[in-house]
């Protein structure tokens, strides 16, 4: 019973972290599933969004949760313009070159952040940062509960958009049958840019939910993007439901490993799973299914 008293809070904490992982991974898997490219700039964009949320709070006093409604659309636009104005023209539409362009972008963004904001670690002070919700079995920090609910809500909205709107159907059509999509009059370049925008909006929302309990440095994106890649591989490349479940699973694995192996070893579990998945089920849990 004493054991359970430690495990339950750890699992709940893991689920809250996992929801953020899932949201970051959803953006990554959406871009992969439709554009068939791996976006190396994903982590850098997350870092940029964390800084944006940080400065909105410190300079203008805008609460990170309110910033979702500013940074979500702003980063959607940024992603749209990046894909349409930089990534697509610079790569001439070749997948292998897109890879290099996104890698180059991430290096540029990371170093710009380092030059502009130095490498010091920054955090925000929020009145509710240490508030907790009593769930009887465990106490959950309020910002984590908010992050969990909001991340799942964002994932749900994204799913609804893809399932129920014309553009969502067009996105799913382009993902599997690009020529067929062109021939019904879908503007494929617009769809690509929309996906990149949506993927970037996902990291912006994740950043706003993360900031109250996390910190910002120019390197902060790397940790998340590594986990996001693992999540995408675990769930099956390009699978939305896979990314969601994969993110939650990895969040729980991380806290449980942290609990039993020691705080600093939590991520060992994540990468052990990564290797096991690659060895035994390279298509992922939901691989081969349609996006």
């Amino acid at each position: 019973m004493g054991e359970l008293g430690i495990v339950v809070p750890a699992v709940l904490a893991g689920l809250t972290t996992g929801a953020i992982y899932a949201l970051v991974a959803l953006g990554l898997t959406l871009i992969y599933g439709v554009l068939h490219i791996i976006n190396f700039a994903h982590g850098s964009l997350l870092m940029l969004a964390l800084y944006a949320a940080f400065f909105l709070k410190t300079l203008w006093g805008i609460d990170p949760y309110a910033a979702v409604f500013v940074l979500g659309p702003a980063f959607f636009a940024l992603g749209y313009v990046l894909q349409r104005g930089v990534i697509w023209p610079a790569s001439h539409g070749q997948d292998s070159m897109i890879l290099m362009v996104t890698l180059g972008l991430s290096i540029v963004i990371d170093n710009l952040a380092l030059a502009l904001w130095t490498s010091s670690t920054r955090t925000v002070d929020l009145p509710y940062a240490f508030a907790v919700i009593d769930l009887k079995l465990a106490l959950i920090p309020l910002p984590r509960a908010v992050a969990f609910v909001a991340a799942l809500a964002a994932a749900g909205l994204l799913w609804l958009f893809l399932a129920r709107t014309d553009l969502g159907r067009a996105i799913r059509a382009v993902a599997k049958e690009r020529l067929g999509a062109q021939l019904v009059g879908i503007d494929v370049r617009h769809v690509y840019a929309m996906c990149f925008g949506l993927g970037t909006a996902c990291v912006a929302v994740a950043a706003c939910l993360l900031l109250p309990t996390f910190y910002v440095t120019p390197q902060v994106g790397h940790a998340f993007v590594l986990v996001a890649f693992t999540t995408v591989v675990l769930g099956g490349m390009g699978s939305m439901e896979g990314a969601l479940i994969g993110g939650l699973v990895l969040g729980v694995v991380e806290t449980l490993c942290g609990l039993f192996l020691g705080e600093s070893l939590g991520q060992i579990g994540i990468f052990a799973i990564f290797i096991l998945i690659l060895l035994f089920r390279p298509t992922g849990l939901f691989g081969g299914k349609s996006a």
Binding site: A170, A173, E177, G180, L183, V184, G185, S290
Partner: protein, 236 residues
């Protein structure tokens, strides 16, 4: 009859390879024209250049009297030049209903509802499978879906690329009957086929393509009796 599609001296290719050397083809309103040729003659490249998925390198294309050389696919679809591609190219991860609905991507929502009812009327088998994923349909059903998706776009000219490919003889019969029926309602059709015998039966006129150029053209009846053509394509 008024010319709907006029292609003059079209040149197109990929990279260093020039596939179409100088191709001229015309289709009138309400006409059914067949473009024949063996595998590799350049028929599919021609389709891509006309549909706007491949930029032409030379020549001229007019649609409904307006210069549309090199126009993007989005515009050609909006104006009613619709291609049903070789290999069907349906969206395997979407339901039959969603496939059809996306066929009307450039049309208003009210008209899409009407057109969906019309297409289901033509293909009752699709109506029975509206919620099924297109990837789980049989080859013949996928071909029907591809044509149904094309009809959802309210075509003025329907270009069918190898609609009989991979179908059983019975289904091929059904397919040609269907094409004839669509044409009887006034739809102009450009039928791109390897199946020479049946294509010449339903077409009014035909073109024969070889190595990226038109080598013979005329009324279907005249081409049927052309000794050289008989020898090359009909094995007689």
């Amino acid at each position: 009859m008024n010319a709907l599609l006029e292609v003059e001296n079209l040149v197109a290719g990929y990279g260093q390879t020039e596939i179409l050397r100088s191709v001229s083809v015309a289709v009138a309103e309400g006409e059914i024209v067949s473009l024949l040729g063996s595998n590799g003659a350049g028929k599919t490249t021609f389709n891509h250049a006309v549909a706007g998925t491949l930029a032409p390198r030379g020549g001229l294309m007019r649609f409904a009297g307006k210069d549309r050389t090199g126009a993007p696919t989005t515009q050609m679809v909006a104006e009613g030049l619709i291609q049903v591609p070789e290999g069907r190219r349906v969206f395997p991860n979407l339901s039959v209903r969603e496939n059809l609905w996306l066929g009307g991507y450039r049309r208003g929502s009210a008209r899409r509802t009407d057109n969906l009812a019309r297409v289901v009327g033509i293909f009752p088998r699709l109506g029975e499978r509206l919620t099924q994923l297109a990837g789980t349909l049989s080859g013949g059903e996928q071909q029907m879906l591809a044509i149904g998706r094309g009809l959802m776009a309210e075509p003025r000219l329907l270009i069918l690329d190898e609609p009989s490919l991979g179908l059983s003889p019975l289904l091929v019969e059904e397919m040609f009957g269907l094409i004839r029926g669509l044409n009887a309602e006034g739809l102009a059709i450009l039928l791109v086929e390897q199946n020479v015998v049946q294509s010449l039966e339903i077409a009014a006129r035909a073109y024969v393509m070889e190595n990226g150029a038109i080598v013979a053209s005329g009324s279907a009846a005249a081409l049927r009796d052309d000794p050289a053509l008989k020898k090359a394509y009909l094995g007689m």
